[in-house]
Amino acid sequence: MLEHLIAGFVTVISPTNLLFCFFGVTMGTIIGVLPGVGPVAGTAMLVPFTFGMNPTTAIIMLAGIYYGSMYGGSTTSILVNLPGESASVMTCLDGYQMGQKGRAGAALGISAIGSFIAGTLSVIGLMLLAPPLADFAIRFGPPEYFALMTLGMTLVISLVGESMVKGLIAGAFGIFLGTIGMDPTTGIERFSYGIPTLLDGLSFVSVSVGLFAISEVLEMAERSSQPPAYIDKISNLLPNWEDWKRSIFPILRGSAIGFFACAMPGAGATVASMLAYATEKKLSKHPEKFGTGIIEGVAAPESANNAATGGAMIPLLVLGVPGSGTAAVMMGALLIHGMRPGPLLFEKHPDFFWAVTASMYIGNVMLLILNLPLVGIWARMLKIPHTLLIPLILAISSVGVFTVNNNLVEVWIMLFFGIVGYFMKKFRFPAAPVVLALILTPLMENALQQSLQMSHQSISIFFTRPISLALLIVAMVSLLSPFARFLWAKAKSF
């Protein structure tokens, strides 16, 4: 393992990879700082930038955006009570209160240091857990893959958003969109109506940029006001001894919760940070002080959302099943670059995995340097007027989507899904299941067809193989648990 990791570091320290790792974490921090532009939108928007790169450099950059945004998200939560992205919501509760008490520096400091520790620990976890899991998953055949992808989708649907019905509609809509184009087995056209662009299916870049970036910009355009900028000077970034004593265990617990929560598809960084905050409150001798500006309330969720990024790499890289919207965008980017995530990735391209892992160590160090001394610069980014940000994001998205295939139809598709995404946001339909399903449907359909060929058209193949059966049972439980809880609550009320 050590020699693989050293080889990974050797790959990363090439000037190009270091430059794009730095670019990724810097862009991630900016995306995290700017309210309204989340990591999914930011990653989707910057996918077209990676087309001239080799796959390793591309994923190093995209992963940098992902974990960089988690660092940046805390800045606005602490300074102006506005989460830069959803995973930083919990940080607002105590972080902003600390800022109000004149301790913004300490909150930002512990947030950056906690994020660094959690990020590093999660990379170690990824390094230790991924290879044995890949060895196990290599035995998976088409039925297991079909069951695994079904499980991935049901977990995302059941955990993302507030309503299971809306999540299911979004997932079904995504699967339907995923069937547009040529059928992978027969080559017969479906819903493409002779439009050449649609023959290869809907471009995931157009759909994800539309659903995430354009819709967010439209929401930004709708608001007449802009969040206030932080004007006070930020000082005393290094936590004192008392802060350290109170934060170290929340950081370690938050790291473990974030990593393991996201190692399963479905629970994203937001869920992880909520779990970590709730755990600390439960373990605390003074739970009533949570929400009044105590450092544990910043350390735990910030550590959890950063550890979550390492955990999220496990289902994505090892199993080929993205567990969140950002991971789905990264999987789409990998597929465009000709890399199929999954256990075979380890066998065929171990250099790729280890280079990405090594880049996360380096990226975390870069982020610590970027986020501690330069926090004032990030805080000032809030002064960028939306009147400039909106056209800039729209133009980058449009030109970026155009350059993927030099095709204007894809920009039209982006605009269409931008409007769809805007209304989905308004009516609280989650967008992540749509993109996840769009990417997974062709693979699922293929796995289903292959499984049925193996079993001479009998669906019993899914229930006679233990792994496939177990995965399908968990998928079923994840789908039915909210209904079961509802029935249980009703039964108890009688």
Partner: protein, 151 residues
């Protein structure tokens, strides 16, 4: 918001019907596997059934919907205008090329949203157009639409 969600459900039911009709035209039984209509047909049915459940939940008041307007006052006009400007940009970019269309797009959007001075807006638009040109054309070497003007 309630009316909006009801409209969304109706649109989804319409989408489901479209999916069912179109999927039914696809060959359903193939020699191998489940056939190319399986996924689109089953998903169209699922969208339809779930949308009806959602619609009934909203109508019967079992699903609580906040009694607030879909967007803030004046917000709809801003969104529609931004979409219209973007639409114009996509139409123009192929005809007149990247540079003039992007310059126009930036100018129109910044001027509309910011209501700033013309000279300042023009200068910012030029800088942004050049910035994107540098990234996409000069750095990433991506071909950009040139239009009849050749730029």
């Amino acid at each position: 918001m309630r009316k909006g969600l009801i409209t969304a459900c109706v649109v989804l039911i319409g989408l489901s019907l479209y999916g069912i009709i179109e999927s039914s035209r696809l060959e359903r039984t193939m020699q191998m596997g489940v056939g190319i209509a399986f996924f689109p047909l089953s998903m169209s049915l699922a969208i339809g059934v779930l949308s009806v459940i959602l619609l009934l939940g909203v109508l019967k008041g079992k699903i609580k919907v906040k009694d607030e307007p879909i967007c803030e006052k004046g917000g709809a006009l801003r969104v529609v205008t931004v979409v219209a400007i973007l639409l114009g940009y996509i139409i123009l970019i192929e005809g007149i090329g990247y540079v003039p269309s992007t310059l126009l797009f930036f100018f129109a959007t910044i001027f509309f949203l910011g209501k700033g001075r013309i000279a300042k807006t023009l200068l910012t638009s030029g800088a942004f157009t050049f910035f994107l040109y540098t990234i996409f054309r000069l750095w990433l070497k991506s071909p950009l639409p040139t239009g009849f003007l050749g730029i």
